[in-house]
Symmetry: C2
DNA sequence: GTTAGCATGTAAGATGTTACATGATTGC
DNA sequence: GCAATCATGTAACATCTTACATGCTAAC
């Protein structure tokens, strides 16, 4: 996965160092994906060997900077990954990591992918709602309140992502996703 | 992490096989945590060596079943893990995996932990909202619509979990978390 | 001058997954 | 009789984190 996120980063911006790439990832998808130098640098070397990126070392003062650039072959491989369906059982984070780079895709294409994903989410949510109904009738409910609460967590999270899909697949204004009530500083 | 989830499972139910444990995990927190036999069986052996579980092999017909039971030492270690604060930068999934077992904790204790976690989420959400405002004024917004959409994804997800915390920490009825609109079958 | 941030990298180990190997039992 | 599920386990590999090692540069 990280190899494609690195390629996507270089697809967007040229002449980045490993350090820059980490910052770009952290600032962009840091809320659901973490990458450490211990994984970035070895992968950059692998991508070099595979010919998906090139690298020119530059000296800034005494410090060497290795600036990476994606190749045509690298672009091809990256777009293939973007277009590819997710493996079964993938997390939302994997999906969102792709969405982060969807600006590189034709618009209809991106919307279709989100619609397809939304369908899966709706089906899954309905499944969980059915499950929750089975618990509702049990008498000793308070003995597994927290256990049950995680099921509702799943349902809420799914619903919020379904709502998100509804807005994004139509390219509506994103601001409407946030109820602008009270964001008082605490 | 998995070692504690296994201990928690045996805390709840005795005389489970490795196979049973996997099913319990899958049905309970399968929506955000996966465990394979390739990790469960080796960990069960480790827990045996550490004295946190015991095991009696039983023959059902010709088939051997290894049924595991948690020890007092195992209970102690499990509760310690439950009480412990999460390491920084942990995912929501790690937190929820603990909440799933919170029925084993005194009630006030559990509520406090959820309140503490909620505070972090609110602070983090406000940070992301601030970030999103910086993007709003840019002119070429449509060039990074999807990039920006993942930021809003983060905000929505956080808000939905904050709402969840509000209900659960007060032990309110969980059903109110789901808007009972239209769950038509498709 | 000293702290924070820039910059690259490695080695050890944690923590899994996937695929394989094997076979019993239950329900249709 | 056949498929699905129950049941245990290993070996190879994948993937990443943590801690270490090193040193430059900008800002205060």
């Amino acid at each position: 996965m990280l190899e494609f996120i690195i390629l996507g980063t270089l697809f967007k911006c040229s002449d980045l160092t490993g350090y820059d790439i980490r910052k770009y990832i952290e600032e962009g998808i840091g809320m659901f994906y973490k990458a450490s130098y211990g994984s970035i640098y070895p992968i950059l070397n692998k991508l070099l060997q595979q010919g998906y990126v090139t690298c020119k070392g530059e000296l800034e003062g005494k410090r060497e900077k290795k600036k990476y650039v994606i190749t045509d072959e690298g672009r091809k491989v990256f777009i293939e990954w973007l277009e590819e369906d997710l493996p079964k059982g993938s997390s939302m984070e994997s999906f969102m990591a792709k969405v982060f780079f969807f600006d590189a895709l034709p618009d209809k294409n991106a919307a279709d992918k989100i619609t397809a994903y939304e369908l899966k989410l709706v089906a899954y949510k309905n499944e969980l709602v059915e499950q929750s109904k089975q618990y509702e009738t049990l008498k000793n409910k308070k003995d597994f309140y927290y256990k049950l609460s995680t099921l509702y967590f799943g349902i809420c999270k799914l619903q919020s992502i379904i709502d998100w899909c509804d807005v994004v697949k139509q390219r509506k204004e994103l601001e409407q996703l946030v109820q602008q009530e009270d964001i008082e500083e605490e």
